[in-house]
Symmetry: C2
Subunit: 248 residues, 2 copies
């Protein structure tokens, strides 16, 4: 095996979590990595992409942006090929010695597509690091001034795309529902039927111009809730009864 000492040292891929919307939710590490990166990789298309790029805009001026397009397909082979292509493009940059910052909304570990690229790039022998960030549900809870979970309360996060939300409703836990489009209205109806609507709050499009902060989920305009986080906690609106009641 020949060694070419003039070859540039390979670059590093960084999965940079940028939080759900407010640029002030960026971490110090995210800012450092973004400023130092040679190339920005931006996933997906449309609104999410513009949101992510908007959050980091102050730190990436002049840097080239690579598009990472994932098709909205249920054909796993089609999706896998798209992820292979993204990995090809990024590894070509790493071979040139460039550090690539792949920006991802919320936290990279929570319903992001980042890891499809991360695992491919690592499997090919490149360095990849993940920068954690603020999740949409931590942000939503903070905006509403209410805890997600305290003491002995488990917390169940139910994703946008799960097929069987109903089966999870009986799990004895506080719950976060991440929903978009028509699923928000269906969830509201289901919680109402179960008598749980009063204990649910909702935040839509957090940190963006059209955000909605609703202490009561019932007040959410579901037609304008492009992406919503619904927080369910039994007895949430019975504060002031002391810790005993709140931990029930």
């Amino acid at each position: 095996m020949e060694t070419c000492t003039n070859a540039p040292e390979k670059g590093t891929l960084y999965g940079v979590s940028v939080g759900p919307g407010d640029p002030e939710n960026l971490t110090l590490k995210a800012v450092r990595v973004l400023k130092a990166a040679d190339v920005i990789a931006a996933p997906s298309t449309g609104r999410n992409r513009q949101t992510a790029l908007g959050i980091v805009a102050d730190y990436i001026a002049g840097k080239p942006i690579v598009d990472c397009l994932t098709p909205m397909s249920k054909d796993l082979a089609v999706v896998a090929r798209a992820h292979d292509k993204i990995a090809d493009d990024i590894c070509a940059l790493l071979d040139e010695g460039k550090d690539v910052a792949f920006i991802t909304l919320g936290d990279a570990g929570v319903y992001s597509t980042y890891y499809y690229t991360h695992e491919r790039v690592v499997a090919r022998g490149y360095r990849a690091e993940v920068v954690p960030g603020v999740t949409s549900f931590c942000d939503a809870a903070a905006r509403l001034g209410r805890p997600l979970c305290e003491g002995s309360e488990p917390l169940l996060v139910v994703p946008v795309s799960t097929g069987d939300t109903e089966a999870l409703l009986d799990v004895p836990a506080n719950k976060v529902f991440m929903k978009s489009g028509k699923a928000i209205g269906a969830l509201r109806d289901t919680l109402a039927e179960r008598g749980e609507l009063d204990d649910a709050a909702a935040v839509a499009n957090s940190g963006l111009a059209d955000e909605q902060l609703c202490e009561h989920f019932a007040d959410l305009d579901v037609e304008r809730g492009y992406f919503s986080v619904v927080l369910y906690r039994k007895g949430a609106h019975k504060a002031g009864e002391g810790e005993g009641g709140r931990l029930s």
Copy 2:
């Protein structure tokens, strides 16, 4: 009702999430609020307190620190009185027009004691705002380079203190277990009995001098795992099979 126009404007309480250990996980907003605060409130005692103060040390030099002591008691009346006392102390500062930053490890909404103070202070008519942060489990996943949840996978967070971890093991979800002391060893034994140990990873004391990063939970030295985050994901060590296998 008399109005005293010379009274100072009341201060604001900020619940500042400082992340699980690495000061670079602080958000830009956390840093701004810490720098601007007049007084720092530090919860609890011992190791957690020192960890939280260590994370923010660069931003609070010279600021007075108020101790917020919560007794380790199962007597709810004793705990409630302690939280009343904390609220009294903080409201006295707010009355002087001082802004108080209450620092809390991880994210304020996730198993923090911050909200016991927040709710009391808000109920008394003061302003209180929450600054969200990086949770210990998002940090642990990032450190290990593995996702918490993808696609349609629900995520269940099981706290340190829950009485009935066993009952939650059958919930069809990826899981985060937050455990300390002897509970870590018991959890390891339980997962081994269920044949799930191979799909669990663990991080102990993240970002601190004695941290342990274990892709395999079995490798964790539970005697040194003061505070551990265990990540369980079915099929986690079968990467490379394509998205189909990973989303099963």
